[in-house]
């Protein structure tokens, strides 16, 4: 069925088709219409799920943790300060290996208070052990939500599906909602690996001593470090699973094929612009224009940010003359997080490209096509002069 709806409704439709069993969420702009839509689905009976209204995002994640521990498919969604309010529980969900799926409608973080889009919220959660996927349009939002449930349940790691607040969450676009029976065939019912079971009582994630210890049967039980090492290894291995899932989705629904990065006109180019989210599609207009003027440049969207697809970065970028990383977030006092990660992935390649960092669109500052055009054209003209310090695009005044 084809729909013309908002990005939030695309996400809600994906959650419904995935048959989430427990939904706990606290409304926050610009995620609110997503949770409203889900509560509507539950109220009208088109989605059989427990909808648990909570008093905060911390509780929303706590409910998802409990539901997932009991063996239910759990979903929540948030934005910005709501995501930060969940912080402690986010780390818990990852360490406890619970396959929770969460949508993040990306929004800037206060102070100063803002409700508009940038990526600082999810980027600030990159180190907590969640898989992070970024969608670039409505079709990718609904598809990514469905894939996210399958991924998280295979690897037992929670997955964040991020999409731009307002730019995607509130704009209307056509997209295809797959048929329920085909989604059912793609996404089997959740069969948890570890769940609370009265017939086999056990404690999950209690104090774990620094060292390994014998358990009640005298077998060696892992210490904190072994458990964390496994999380890291499993996260790295989840890339292979994501690739398989993407292929299975492509076979079943005819969409996908770019699980990690999505290059556009990047074959044999000299320069590549890298960005995340809807900006990478916005950038395509600029690329088309510049190509028609003879500038040899393409753009690559990053769809998987954690685990970091370093091999995909290396194959896409090594040997290029220059790489320009455009970001709507940064690690304050250093550089853009994506920029630093890409730089580090490229450190060992034989033909290392020149690389530059461009910060833009923070707190919803409008990104004009002209700004992008000027910045990319200039950077392609003089990549040697750009240095390692982030260039800020669209700043109108500076502290004197």
């Amino acid at each position: 069925m084809h729909l013309i709806e908002s990005g939030n409704v695309a996400a809600a439709t994906g959650v419904k088709l995935s048959r989430a069993q427990v939904i706990a969420a606290y409304p926050i702009t610009p995620q609110t219409p997503l949770t409203e839509k889900l509560s509507e689905f539950v109220a009208e009976g088109s989605l059989t799920a427990e909808y648990i209204p909570v008093e905060s995002e911390h509780s929303a994640m706590a409910v998802c943790i409990a539901a997932s521990s009991a063996g239910a498919r759990a979903f929540t969604a948030t934005s910005a300060n709501g995501l930060l309010y969940m912080n402690e529980q986010l780390h818990w969900a990852a360490g406890a290996r619970l396959p929770i799926v969460m949508c993040v409608a990306n929004r800037g973080i206060g102070a100063p208070w803002t409700v508009w889009n940038d990526h600082q919220d999810s980027i600030s959660q990159r180190d907590g052990g969640w898989i992070q996927l970024y969608a670039n349009d409505h079709q990718q939002i609904i598809d990514t939500v469905i894939k996210a449930f399958r991924l998280s349940e295979i690897v037992s790691i929670p997955v964040m599906v991020c999409y731009d607040g307002y730019l995607l969450s509130h704009t209307y676009m056509p997209f295809e909602a797959p048929d329920q029976d085909r989604v059912d065939a793609f996404l089997p019912l959740f069969s948890p690996k570890n769940k609370l079971d009265p017939d086999q009582p056990s404690n999950f994630n209690t104090v774990t001593l620094p060292d390994v210890r014998p358990d009640v049967r005298g077998n060696l039980a892992p210490g904190y470090m072994e458990i964390r090492h496994t999380l890291h290894q499993d996260m790295r291995n989840s890339m292979e699973v994501l690739k398989d899932i993407d292929q299975a989705f492509l076979d079943a629904f005819g969409r996908g094929g770019t699980p990690f990065v999505e290059p556009y006109r990047c074959d044999d180019v000299e320069h590549v612009v890298v960005c995340m989210g809807s900006l990478s599609y916005h950038m395509r207009d600029v690329i088309d224009q510049l190509r028609s003027e003879g500038v040899n440049v393409g753009v690559m969207g990053v769809q998987l940010y954690r685990p970091f697809p370093d091999q995909a970065m290396v194959s896409a970028l090594s040997g290029k003359r220059s790489v320009m990383v455009f970001e709507k977030a940064l690690s304050y006092g250093n550089q853009g997080a994506l920029y630093a990660d890409i730089k580090s992935a490229l450190y060992n390649v034989d033909r290392r490209p020149l690389i530059s960092n461009h910060i833009l669109g923070l707190g919803g500052r409008e990104i004009k096509t002209q700004h992008l055009y000027d910045a990319v054209k200039q950077a392609c003209g003089n990549p040697e002069t750009l240095g390692d310090t982030p260039h800020w695009i669209g700043l109108k005044c500076q502290a004197s």
Binding site: G95, A96, R97, E153, I154, V155, S156, I157, K193, N194, Q200, P201, S202, N203, F204, N205, T206, V207, T208, L209, R213, P214, D215, V216, R217, A221, P222, Y224, E226, I227, T230, D234, N237, S238, E240, V241, D244
Partner: protein, 106 residues
């Protein structure tokens, strides 16, 4: 890779003695029950057992007299604090260490 390859390791503990290791080695003071003061010991009737109820590590038996498993008693002193008869005293662990080391315990 298959689902079975993932989450092979999580933190999980089951009810039973010793899941946190031999916590008796944490003890600096040892609870000692004076059977002359302990109510069930004195009366020969199954009564009181406040120490059994309160012990957070479930190492006190509900027997006459109650006994304490020193392999796992971590010496928190809750039983001594709660005993209505003042029958439990907390004694310096160093007094016992030499004797038990000789016996090869703990």
């Amino acid at each position: 890779m298959k689902s079975d390859d993932f989450a092979c390791m999580i933190s999980r503990s089951e009810p039973g003695p010793g899941d946190g290791g031999r916590t008796g080695s944490w003890r600096v003071q040892r609870p000692v029950i004076d059977t002359a003061k302990c109510i069930p010991a004195k009366t020969g009737k199954p009564s009181c057992f406040t120490c059994w109820l309160f012990c957070p590590d479930a190492v006190v038996t509900k027997t006459i007299p109650p006994t304490i498993d020193y392999v796992y008693c971590k010496g928190c002193g809750i039983c001594a604090e709660e005993c209505p008869a003042g029958a439990i005293s907390m004694e310096d662990e160093s007094r016992f260490i030499t004797e038990e080391n000789d016996k090869g315990c703990i």
